[in-house]
């Protein structure tokens, strides 16, 4: 690299030409290194991100059980026997039509994903921030609280699902036993009641998410210059004002990270529902991600239909991702 820079012509040239000039002066070895360092990640990205994504989009226009290949003919033109699947064939936008009009899980799933996001933004994340702020004030035993609140984050979501399943179990579970509601005439079906089970799961999710946000936020708070707070105190600001007017704005980068984490965590909500329902979502627990796997993984596969649900989830996810990237790049340009 050293000799390239020395050979680089002086700066007054126009930017694009200068770039091309630089490329020309790269040695063969440098070019190889650059090509490898760009090419390998690009190839991996293409193979493991772009190809599957595009293949999913393509498959969403087919009907396919995963047996044999997909023929480039329309399903309507192939013979069919009731109950015995046709070989893979082109199905047009039929899958999309089915998803929006006939698939009973779809609209509940959209609603539940939205609820999940809302609860995370309104309850789980602010709760984590509150914990962080309180602990940051150095109350007595803050390390113990910190450890207790962070403990759920160290458990896998699958394990959290199993733990809470035992807590919620109707006849033999912890909660119903303690409050004496485990008899046949008065028991509370925490996970069985479709009006209750999503909230029961959101408690589990919040239990973990709050700890996660707390740790992120705590790290952010520690990095805020104490002089800022001192200055605010000298100016006569109350604790409340200091936080909202001084500390919170100073933590803008961390706030954005937390927002993104929150949105991503709620869109990829899957594990808890999958564990709690043994794969086949209980009524009241439908989520888009679970619907995708329910159709694609299993003894008989509706790959075309599942891909359609995957494409819908992709389109929804693109909205927050685009907003975030747009924001990030705009800041970089500035």
């Amino acid at each position: 690299m050293v000799d390239t820079t020395t050979r680089t012509p002086a700066s007054p040239m126009a930017t694009p030409r200068r770039r091309r000039g630089r490329l020309r002066v790269l040695t063969r070895r440098d070019k190889f290194v650059v090509a490898a360092m760009l090419g390998i990640p690009l190839l991996l990205e293409a193979a493991f991100v772009w190809f599957p994504a595009l293949a999913t989009v393509a498959l969403s226009f087919t009907k396919w059980t995963g047996v044999g290949g997909v023929q480039m003919t329309s399903c309507a033109s192939l013979p069919s026997a009731p109950g015995i699947p046709q070989p893979g064939c082109l199905y047009g936008v039929q899958n999309y039509h089915q998803v929006f009009t006939n698939y009973p899980d779809f609209w509940p799933a959209v609603r539940h994903n939205a609820t999940w996001l809302l609860v995370f933004i309104v309850i789980a994340t602010p709760l984590g921030m509150l914990f962080a702020v309180i602990i940051d004030r150095g109350i007595r035993g803050s390390r113990i609280y910190q450890s207790i609140l962070f403990l759920p984050v160290m458990l896998s979501l699958a394990l959290i699902g199993i733990i809470w399943e035992l807590i919620y179990s109707p006849n033999y579970g912890l909660i119903n036993t303690i409050i004496g509601r485990n008899h046949n005439d008065n028991l509370i079906a925490w996970l069985g009641n479709p009006h209750l089970n999503l909230w029961a799961l959101l408690v589990e999710a919040t239990w973990r998410q709050a700890g996660y946000v707390m740790v992120l936020y705590l790290a952010g708070l520690k990095s805020v210059d104490p002089a800022l707070r001192e200055a605010a105190t000298v100016d006569g600001a109350t604790t409340w004002q200091t936080f909202w007017r001084v500390v919170f704005p100073a933590m803008r980068p961390i706030n954005i990270v937390i927002l993104v984490v929150t949105v991503i965590e709620s869109l990829r909500a899957f594990d808890l529902v999958y564990i709690t329902s043994n794969g086949n979502p209980l009524r009241g627990l439908e989520l888009l991600s679970v619907s995708v796997t329910q159709n694609i993984v299993g003894e008989t596969q509706r790959i075309g239909f599942g891909s359609t649900l995957g494409v819908v989830l992709l389109v929804i996810s693109l909205v927050p991702i685009s907003i975030f990237l747009f924001q990030a790049f705009r800041r970089e340009e500035r």
């Binding site: 199993i162 069985g192 086949n280 009524r283």
Partner: protein
């Protein structure tokens, strides 16, 4: 999936042995034929061919991943090796994983033989050309089985694709001690049944233990009421969508069921079946309708002597108690498996009463299918199971084995909604939704 249930307790127990078996399975799947021939086989010529005549070491893909069925299956394979002198390597996969991967498994590098289920679940894969017909095996073992077992083992094309090993009945279980201490008698008609359940309720018992969190148990209740009200032929036609789900006969089933629901354990949608079975075992509940493969298997050995059952009572005199769900498990020959010649010899052995006896040595809830087999190890429940299954004019398999699995999945949701809200209006909307989903699932 009724067949899974004995195995599908919520936590898969991974023992060190399972893990080692899994490693061995991986090695075998990776094509380490050298490993297999090192196990003492003398034939090296046939690897890689799939012709019927091919002989050589047999690999057996098994979903019997729980300790007890696993041990029983190992005993069966040892016996098969000593009878046929074919080497058998067992590759055990976790029960649910095996099922979820079955279509990839059958298209990839399957074992010579594999465990599977009878009924539509068999026909579905046979019709997609993933299994080899085994008519020549049945030429030899055909005499050991009755017509019901034979028709269960056939694909839609009329060829045989399965050798059955065991089945088990879906019946109403109760504790003998409860019935004798309270002076209950076994009901034979619907009215007696409902009256008994109401009596139990006033006696402070939960009349019918009931759980539906797993999704499939209530499908069994739908099956039996449909079989009792509308008969076997109608039930199978409904499963094949030759009768629409909006048919009045389906409404009749739900209406019948509605009478029973207030007498069932509350909050079923949030309860796993093991907890319901525990309520029966603890004598907090009077009865429970489910498979013996689940209820009897879940009972502690010391309580098993107290357990008894009766067949679901008659509803429509035209059909009496002629039918029941008796899911059958067995073995298939994947088309891409190796050494089919040797594998068929193993199947010929498995299709004998003595092989079933070996398999059932430690099993106290399933029963063999061979004609008149009463294994010496049978307990009272098993002896009664054999007698009651034999009395049936026809046995169905279970909703998730008799129809397209996607349809069974759709029905799970709808039946859970029925259990939450058993009103006439909801029944109507359930039937509408079932029909519109059936149209898309069975669509050409």
């Amino acid at each position: 999936m009724p067949g899974d249930s004995a195995q599908s307790t919520s936590l898969p127990a991974v023992s060190r042995r399972t893990a080692l078996k899994g490693v061995a399975g991986l090695a075998a799947a990776a094509g380490a034929t050298g490993l297999l021939s090192a196990c003492g086989s003398d034939s090296k010529t046939s690897t890689g061919t799939t012709s019927n005549a091919a002989t050589g070491p047999v690999t057996f893909g098994s979903n019997y991943s729980d300790p007890q069925p696993k041990a029983a299956f190992a005993a069966l394979c040892t016996a098969a090796t000593s009878k046929t002198s074919e080497q058998i390597t067992i590759n055990t996969a976790d029960h649910n994983t095996f099922q979820n991967n079955i279509s990839n498994y059958l298209q990839g590098t399957p074992d010579s033989l594999a465990t599977w289920f009878a009924g539509y679940r068999l026909q579905f894969f046979a019709a997609q050309n993933l299994l080899s017909p085994i008519d020549d095996v049945w030429d030899k073992i055909g005499g050991n089985f009755n017509d019901a077992a034979k028709s269960l083992s056939k694909g839609l094309d009329g060829h045989y694709y399965l050798v059955p090993i065991y089945n088990y009945p879906w019946v109403v279980f109760y504790n003998k001690s409860t019935f004798s201490s309270k002076g209950y008698t076994v009901p034979t008609t619907w009215d007696d049944f409902v009256a008994l359940a109401k009596k139990m309720q006033t006696d402070g018992l939960v009349p019918l233990a009931f759980a539906e969190k797993d999704g499939w148990p209530a499908l069994g209740t739908f099956d039996i009421i449909n079989l009792r009200v509308n008969g076997y032929d109608n039930h199978i036609k409904l499963m094949k969508h030759e009768i629409p789900w909006t048919d009045p006969s389906v409404t009749a089933v739900f209406n019948q069921w509605r009478e029973l629901l207030p007498l069932c354990q509350k909050g079923a949608n949030g309860r796993i079946w093991q907890d319901a079975a525990k309520t029966l075992e603890n004598k907090q509940a009077g009865m429970m309708f489910q498979g013996s493969n689940q209820v009897a298997a879940n009972y502690a050995a010391s309580n098993l002597a107290d357990l008894d059952f009766f067949v679901f009572p008659e509803i429509n005199p035209a059909y009496g108690t002629d039918y029941m769900d008796a899911p059958t498990d067995g073995f298939i020959l994947p088309k891409k498996g190796k050494n089919a010649g040797s594998a068929k010899k193993v199947l010929e052995y498995i299709g004998t009463p003595e092989a079933e006896t070996t398999f059932l040595q430690t099993d106290h809830w399933d029963v063999g299918l061979a004609n008149g087999l009463v294994a010496p190890s049978y307990n009272a429940i098993q002896k009664k199971s054999v007698a009651e299954i034999a009395k049936c004019k026809n046995v169905s398999q279970f909703m998730d084995r008799d129809t397209v699995p996607d349809m069974a999945t759709a029905m799970i949701k709808l039946i859970q909604s029925f259990i939450d809200n058993p009103t006439a209006a909801n029944i109507a909307s359930i039937q509408q939704s079932a029909e519109s989903q059936a149209k898309s699932i069975f669509a050409s």
